[in-house]
């Protein structure tokens, strides 16, 4: 725990160095920084602005322009529930409600306090054939029901707990 912040910060310094502190490389820098933190913290963006010698407003502008960047911390597992037409017709809302309930989340507060899960809705994942579809990180789950989704989550939670025990032991 103690070392994690430092490791991340050193990583950012390395990223900046690797990109030669070149203002023209702002986008790749932000992309790599986001890989480290899984989002773009404000202080780190200020630091990036300082190092690249550009105004913080410019960095903020770029970070908010691309939907790929996120300024709020997200969980380790990002659950994307499709709400495109095909999935909607096949009652994806039921899955969403069940997820919110299971993780005590809502549209406004969509990340669990332990930073494990974030729930997002997307309009069409391009997997309409599998409707209703849910994507967790990179993996696509098709023809889901509230029950099946819940089982997948339980599986993840179990693996996580095991990992934790292994670390502590």
């Amino acid at each position: 725990m103690t070392n994690r912040n430092h490791r991340k910060f050193e990583e950012v310094c390395r990223i900046l160095e690797k990109n030669g502190n070149d203002p023209a490389r702002l986008i790749p820098v932000l992309q790599q920084v986001q890989e480290v933190y899984r989002y773009l913290p404000e202080e780190i963006m200020s630091f990036v602005a300082t190092s690249l010698n550009i105004s913080p407003a410019k960095v903020f502008g770029v970070a908010t322009f691309f939907s790929h960047f996120t300024l709020k911390p997200k969980g380790k597992y990002i659950i994307r529930v499709c709400d495109g037409t095909a999935c909607h017709v096949k009652t994806s809302t039921g899955i969403l409600d069940a997820l919110y309930k299971k993780l005590s989340l809502s549209e406004k507060i969509n990340t669990t306090p332990d930073m494990l899960f974030t729930i997002e809705t997307v309009s069409c994942l391009g997997a309409c054939g599998l409707a209703p579809a849910v994507v967790i990180n990179e993996r696509v789950y098709g023809q889901m029901t509230p029950e099946k989704t819940s089982e997948v989550l339980d599986g993840i939670i179990k693996t996580e707990e095991k990992q934790k025990e292994a670390v502590n032991a």
Partner: protein, 675 residues
């Protein structure tokens, strides 16, 4: 006959004379093409599409970004173009908060003007964007994103002309907005309050903050004694609001209007401008004699002062320690007038009428208050003054001119030309030249080399004390260019004058809205003409200034003068961002270590100090006992790189010093814990 460089505009033959775009050529033909995103001083953005014209063989093109070519045949107002323009305005209006009657920009708004011009009477589209909160965090500028049409003029102004970049486009799609970084208010970022963004904003999205209501309230309060000072640049611009030519000297009407509005006394900031010259000139001569803190930088522009405090903390000692004329007036008046008028100090209210939005910020600074009583209570811009005249129903042009009150209403021409870029330098030269030559300036008191609207001017004059080199910059981009070349030691000066607004105060953002470039020239000429009309031209000849020194301060630069007329500078952080946590430190009794990662310290190597510290902490197994953070600017940039270890602030820090202090502090911490 077709010559090599003519083209036809609506059937008229026009010669191309080096114009970069069609728009300039068309304007030369006296056709007013509507634009939102074109300003001759800024780069071309080409976003608003209002400037479209028809070029035969090519169809409809934006004239602002199309280079003129010989033989082009151009139509500027076909049915298709008119209906396109109308549609653009309608679309913009659809998303624009329509509270025109209560808007600051009412009657000077370009969107409103063009809607009238193209007969947009109703809007067929529905509003798409949700309402956004108003930003009134800044003492100088109010930002209403709901009125923004995304022309980008402000963004380019702030970045290109001022080299600040405090605002930029953010978000995407229908959420696009122009905003300071990280959703902060303008007062929490590097904005220097110059207001140039508001000057070019075609709508009411960026406006000088209004303090009119507060002024009326003070004027109506029977227990208050309200007086006013008016800056030089106001008198040559206020008339524009009432249809007079730019540059018309309307001093008498302005004074009359202020009296009719209810101000008990009307004084002239030019008087304290004269006083500034006495103090600053003396300060310069002292520095010259001792060969220290040169060049001297002028300090009368609060936009420049904040800029210097943010970006060039190493210049703090070079800035003249003189307060600006506005603040000298406040300090003087609050000290001397209550007794003179037999009133309590807290009942004296001082209002300034200024061409400037940054003066609002300046007056609000804590260092310009004594025991909680501000030296200047309210700052109004020229625009706000004009609005008050209108509200009161005064017919400005037919007011019988009146004169200023004494003693702070008498000035020399030197105090008048302060409003122009180069004016302060010229006024200083009129003082310094006489002092070092030891004889009166007779006849010729003009130093024409420092006049004119160029961004950077330089000159040198030879005196018995050697050759003096001067530089004058207006617009902060120019200031940056100048300071950078001084830092690289490419140039060297003795006196440097800087104004944040292009052209100086006459081009201030509080002045009446204008779109034509020649307006500034005319205002500048107005001030130089005014100088000629006056009896005296050098500050040191002002009899009331002499009297002031005799009765109050002794001589220029005296101890007492310093107390009332001078100030100090501190470096100031650019943005208010949080800290970066590096090591958490788990024990309850942990040592706190903060390393500055502000730009100035960063450049001086704070990153390697942090690395050295952390490496050492890890090697000595102290990870639990120390919490390490990186933060943005301690506001002590001058002595950086800075770090704070426990209670100790380490200036000019090195890895060695940091490690040594760390170990000492850890030891103390341990001892405390064991008792």
């Amino acid at each position: 006959m077709k010559t090599a460089n003519t083209l036809t505009i609506d059937g008229l033959k026009i010669t191309i004379e080096g114009e970069k775009n069609l728009l300039e050529v068309i304007r030369k033909a006296h056709i007013d093409i509507p634009t939102f995103c074109y300003h001759s001083e800024l780069s071309i953005y080409g976003a608003c599409r209002l400037c479209m014209v028809d070029v035969s063989g090519r169809g409809v093109v934006p004239s602002c970004s199309t280079p003129p070519e010989a033989g082009m045949e151009i139509q500027t107002s076909t049915g298709q173009i008119r209906s396109l323009r109308k549609m653009i305005i309608e679309l913009l209006l659809a998303n624009h908060e329509q509270s025109c009657t209560t808007c600051q920009k009412n009657t000077s708004c370009k969107l409103q003007e063009l809607a009238n011009r193209f007969g947009v009477t109703k809007v067929r589209f529905k509003k798409a964007a949700a309402a956004r909160p108003l930003d009134n965090s800044s003492p100088s500028i109010t930002r209403d994103p709901n009125k923004c049409i995304l022309c980008g003029d402000c963004v380019r102004m702030c970045r290109e002309e001022q080299s600040v970049g405090a605002i930029d486009f953010a978000f995407r799609g229908s959420n696009v907005t122009v905003a300071p970084s990280f959703g902060k208010g303008l007062s929490e970022v590097e904005c220097v309050n110059c207001g140039q963004c508001a000057r070019v904003c075609p709508t009411g999205a960026l406006t000088p903050k209004s303090d009119v209501a507060e002024t009326w309230k003070a004027l109506e309060d029977k227990s208050k004694y309200v007086i006013v000072q008016i800056a030089p640049a106001v008198r040559v611009a206020i008339g524009e609001h009432f249809g007079l030519e730019p540059g018309t000297i309307a001093t008498g009407q302005a004074v009359a209007a202020l009296k009719r509005l209810g101000f008990k006394k009307v004084f002239d900031t030019s008087f304290t401008a004269d006083l500034t010259i006495m103090e600053e000139g003396t300060e310069f001569l002292k520095r010259l004699e001792k060969k220290e803190k040169l060049p001297i930088f002028t300090s009368c522009c609060p936009g420049w002062v904040k800029f210097a405090e943010q970006y060039y903390p190493e210049l703090n000692d070079n800035l003249s320690s003189c307060r600006s004329p506005q603040q000298m007036f406040g300090s003087l008046a609050k000290e001397l007038l209550p007794e003179k008028y037999g009133i309590k100090k807290e009942d004296l209210v001082i209002v300034s009428v200024m061409p400037c939005t940054a003066k609002k910020y300046e007056a609000a600074q804590e260092k310009f208050a004594v025991n909680g009583i501000k030296d200047i209570d309210i700052v109004l811009t020229t625009q706000e003054f004009a609005r008050m005249i209108e509200e009161a129903g005064l017919q400005f042009n037919s007011l019988t001119p009146e004169s200023f009150d004494l003693p702070f209403g008498f000035k020399t021409g030197a105090g008048i030309i302060f409003g122009n870029s180069g004016g302060v330098s010229e006024a200083v030269l009129r003082f310094v030249n006489e002092k070092v030559c030891g004889k009166k300036n007779t006849g010729n008191y003009d130093f024409l080399q420092v006049r004119g609207l160029e961004g950077i001017k330089e000159t040198s004059i030879s005196t018995p004390a050697g050759t003096l080199k001067l530089a004058v910059a207006s617009g902060l981009k120019n200031a940056r260019t100048l300071v950078e070349s001084m830092k690289r030691k490419e140039v060297h000066y003795d006196i440097v004058e800087i104004m944040a607004c292009p052209g100086g105060c006459i081009g201030g953002a509080g002045q009446p809205v204008y779109y034509k470039p020649e307006v500034k020239e005319k205002r500048a000429k107005g001030l130089y003409d005014n100088d000629k009309m006056l009896e005296l031209h050098s500050s040191q000849d002002n009899p009331y200034i002499k009297e002031l020194y005799k009765d109050n301060f002794g001589e220029a630069g005296s101890r007492k003068a310093h107390r009332f007329l001078h100030t100090h500078y501190a470096s100031c952080k650019r943005t208010h961002s949080g800290e970066i946590s590096i090591l958490k430190g788990n024990s309850v009794n942990k040592l706190e270590v903060t390393v500055c990662f502000g730009t100035s310290c960063f450049l001086k190597g704070s990153q390697s100090i942090l690395k050295g510290l952390v490496d050492h902490i890890k090697l000595s197994g102290l990870e639990d006992k120390v919490e390490v953070k990186a933060t943005f600017c301690f506001e002590k940039c001058n002595s950086g790189p800075n770090a704070r270890i426990g209670r100790k602030l380490l200036e000019k820090c090195t890895i060695g010093l940091a490690v040594e202090t760390l170990m000492d502090e850890i030891k103390i911490l341990k001892e405390c814990a064991s008792v």
